[in-house]
């Protein structure tokens, strides 16, 4: 064997990963049995295999059938995204996994609560911007507001950016809820 200390020679089988590094963001909807531990299984799969979760929402959507709907926004290369979908499908309590980003047009919405503490001009400006965004005031004192805003995640991001210099102290975001457009059902 040639005695050369090239880069190639030191590449370990463990390090020879895929070269395709285009990271995409995908929104997936997962229908699961609403039973203890199911969320831990989903999250454990992401942490155990090194996948990244951007956001995750979950709640029971069909009480009679005991079904919950999870919406996950995940980042990864196309190969990783494909793996995530198949790995999720392997979980026993999972009924269905749909990659909305692959399926096509879908609606994605997020709810945010924002606490803004300020007085004087800043307080007035905060209220004015909230009106422009269509945010509701759900709590108010003489020195603070809590705004409620629903919209696409990037709209929420924009609102956060504008409120920051105006006394934004707390943000609580729900993560994305998503649904396919049109008459098709999951």
């Amino acid at each position: 064997m040639a005695r050369q200390k090239s880069k190639e020679a030191t590449t370990s089988v463990y390090g020879a990963g895929p070269k395709d590094l285009t990271v995409e963001q995908h929104t997936m909807t997962i229908m699961v049995d609403n039973e203890p531990g199911v969320l831990a299984r989903v999250i454990g799969l992401f942490s155990g295999r090194g996948y990244n979760i951007e956001s995750l929402t979950v709640a029971e959507t069909d009480h009679d059938k005991n079904i919950s709907r999870i919406t996950i926004v995940a980042n990864g290369t196309p190969a990783v995204i494909e793996q995530i979908q198949h790995q999720l499908e392997r979980l026993v309590p999972v009924h269905k996994v749909v990659d909305l980003t692959v399926e096509g047009a879908h609606v994605s919405r997020e709810l945010g609560l924002f606490k803004v503490v300020s007085t004087g001009d800043k307080r007035i400006e905060a209220l004015r911007i909230a009106e422009i965004f269509g945010a509701k005031v759900v709590d108010s004192t003489l020195e603070s507001f809590i705004f409620e805003l629903t919209g696409k995640p990037d709209k929420i991001d924009a609102f956060v950016d504008l409120m920051r210099p105006l006394g934004l102290v707390n943000v609580s975001r729900s993560g994305s809820c998503a649904m396919m457009r049109g008459k098709d059902v999951l």
Binding site: M1, A9, V13, E35, Q83, H86
Partner: protein, 596 residues
């Protein structure tokens, strides 16, 4: 079926039911699932089930000496019989001790159900004595697990667990049963009244893809079959179908460590195992092929070597029952989700119906090339008159086994001896080879041999072991003695953790860090202390006599074969190298030891 649904259905259907305790339900459900053998170890939180075991005759319990042993014994039983292996352990340490065995079964897709006791429901979360978050701990190392909080759900959960364990890609399932649930009374539900809605693995192939795949095979000039444990898991029928189809096509075939035995090793088309310590001809055929037919294998890193140089010019067909295995490590051209047996039968039918035939001229050329690689005689080693070479010991074992009329089952520990066993022992039928492939668990072989012998009382079961691995679960000698299981432990004793030593020699500048075992026990006396038989071979001329004697014993027997301390296992694809860069025994001196 979810637990809530199970309840609803039980109420609606009003099947013939009887009110019994949770512990009795366990026995009833196991018996209904066809279980007659359980490996286990009692403890506080599982006593009600042990009380139920005491009062019945349907299920025979084998008492192990450590819960890890129970898990591996269940695995050995499952691999050699094709049935689901069952183990029963207590809460806390009982459950945590099974984690290695569960992970092992997970990696190698072995159907197994582990029942663990848990502290009573009202104590869960209080850091009670022998409490552990068993479902939390085992979530990542089981195919699925359950914590049973209501006795009404217990029968449905057990039936569901057996379905999950053996359907689709098999794997371990754990059921954690709190002690108060074992005592509680409830109605038993039989398995026919349980339906699972969410988990429905696909087993039948997409015929359009099968036709594409077979058409591709028919056009191939340099085809190769690459098969794995999925074929074994699909049952002996699948192995038979594979053998017939491979003969029909005339293609060469290689297999992973897990897949040995699916295609008879004595056939001319058999190239031997592939991968890191696979044969020269198998790895070169994989590298140079133009069509690769992968059935029930998963492109593991020990098989592929360097990924970007893996079989660069081939079209790849991948058949697997697990959709997540397809395109996981290697991108394939045709991915088919199916049970290996169904897919092979479907392919064979298309091949026959369309009267396909391999290109005769291309096949002659391909086989000429392969036979050229075979001439390398890659498993050759330099024998000695004075020192026992480990390869020679296994060749002699092979010769004696070929004369023996009994069905031979081989288990192994993990390391050099495991690879030599895979290279030198004959595997002509499925379910005769039990080894820890994916996880690489030292200490697997002896308990697995015990499970294998329990499932195959008339067979001859040999654990090919290293002196380091065997010490990891040596306590199971006592189990073998208790149940008169005449397991043979064939130790290739070189006083080193051989594979670690080999890597340190070749890849870590010959710095032998902590790989030598000082103060080893006298294995002959050790065997005798347990009530077994101990034999020793120190020179090559003693080998045959010792093996003959070993095959005659009716008790658990340790054979301490003192082998060459510095022998390395070749061929070897060094980590980070491609299939065509493998090194053979004579090349070893030329190997650049400063590479890594």
């Amino acid at each position: 079926m979810t637990t809530a649904q199970a309840k609803t259905k039980a109420k609606l259907a009003k099947p013939k039911t009887k009110t019994i305790t949770g512990a009795d339900m366990v026995i009833e459900a196991l018996a209904e699932q066809g279980v007659d053998t359980v490996f286990g170890y009692p403890g506080g939180a599982v006593l009600p089930i042990y009380d139920a075991i005491f009062q019945q005759k349907k299920i025979k319990h084998y008492l192990v000496r450590h819960e890890q042993g129970a898990g591996h014994a269940a695995e050995g039983y499952a691999r050699s019989t094709g049935k689901v292996g069952v183990c029963l352990v207590t809460s806390g340490p009982g459950a945590t001790n099974t984690v290695t065995a569960l992970t092992d079964a997970m990696m190698d897709s072995i159907p197994m159900v582990c029942i663990s006791g848990q502290v009573p429901t009202f104590l869960i979360g209080t850091d009670a004595f022998q409490e552990a978050d068993t479902t939390g701990i085992t979530r990542a190392c089981t195919k699925h697990n359950y914590l049973v909080k209501d006795v009404a759900d217990l029968p449905a959960i057990i039936h569901e667990a057996f379905y999950v364990a053996q359907s689709g890609r098999p794997g371990p399932v754990l059921i954690d049963i709190p002690k108060d649930v074992q005592f509680a009374q409830g109605q038993y539900i039989s398995k026919d009244n349980v339906v699972l809605h969410s988990y429905q693995p696909q087993t039948e192939p997409d015929m359009a893809k099968i036709e594409d795949a077979v058409a591709l095979m028919a056009k191939a000039k340099k085809p190769v079959f690459y098969t794995g444990g999925g074929v074994i898991n699909a049952g002996p029928d699948a192995s038979k179908a594979l053998t017939n189809f491979v003969k029909e096509t005339g293609f060469p075939i290689t297999s992973t460590l897990m897949g040995l035995g699916a295609f008879p090793a004595h056939e001319e088309q058999w190239l031997g195992m592939l991968g890191m310590h696979g044969t020269y001809e198998a790895n070169w055929a994989m590298h140079d092929c133009d069509v690769m037919v992968c059935i029930g294998a998963r492109f593991d890193d020990r098989v592929t070597g360097r990924l970007d140089a893996f079989s660069p010019n081939s079209k790849k067909i991948h058949i697997d029952i697990d959709p997540s295995s397809i395109n996981k490590n290697v991108h394939v051209d045709i991915g088919i989700i199916a049970d290996a047996g169904s897919a092979i039968k479907a392919m064979a039918k298309v091949w026959k119906d369309k009267k396909y035939q391999a290109d005769p001229k291309a096949m002659v050329e391909w086989w000429t090339e392969i036979n050229g690689w075979r001439k390398k005689n890659c498993l050759a080693y330099t024998n000695s008159d004075t020192i026992i070479k480990p390869q020679y010991a296994l060749e002699r074992l092979r010769a004696h086994l070929e004369k023996d009329k009994r069905d031979a089952f081989i288990t192994t520990e993990v390391g050099q001896h495991q690879m030599w066993a895979a290279q030198f022992l004959p595997f002509n039928a499925p379910n005769r080879w039990m080894t820890s492939g994916g996880l690489g668990t030292m200490g697997y072989g002896l308990p697995a041999a015990i499970g294998t012998q329990v499932g195959n009382r008339d067979g001859i079961v040999i654990d090919v072991a290293g002196e380091a691995s065997i010490l990891m679960n040596i306590q199971e000698m006592s189990t073998a003695v208790q149940y008169n299981l005449p397991v043979k432990i064939f130790i290739l004793n070189n006083q080193w953790m051989g594979m670690v030593r080999q890597w340190q020699e070749l890849l870590h500048g010959e710095r032998y860090s902590e790989s030598y075992t000082d103060s080893l026990p006298d294995f002959v006396k050790l065997a005798e202390a347990y009530g077994g038989i101990g034999l020793r071979a120190e020179t090559p001329d003693e080998l045959d006599g010792v093996i003959e004697e070993m095959l005659k014993t009716d008790k658990v027997t340790i054979v301490d074969v003192r082998v060459d301390q510095t022998e390395n296992c070749f061929p070897m694809i060094p980590s980070g190298k491609a299939h065509n860069e493998m090194i053979l025994s004579p090349d070893a001196d030329k190997f650049d030891k400063t590479l890594v």
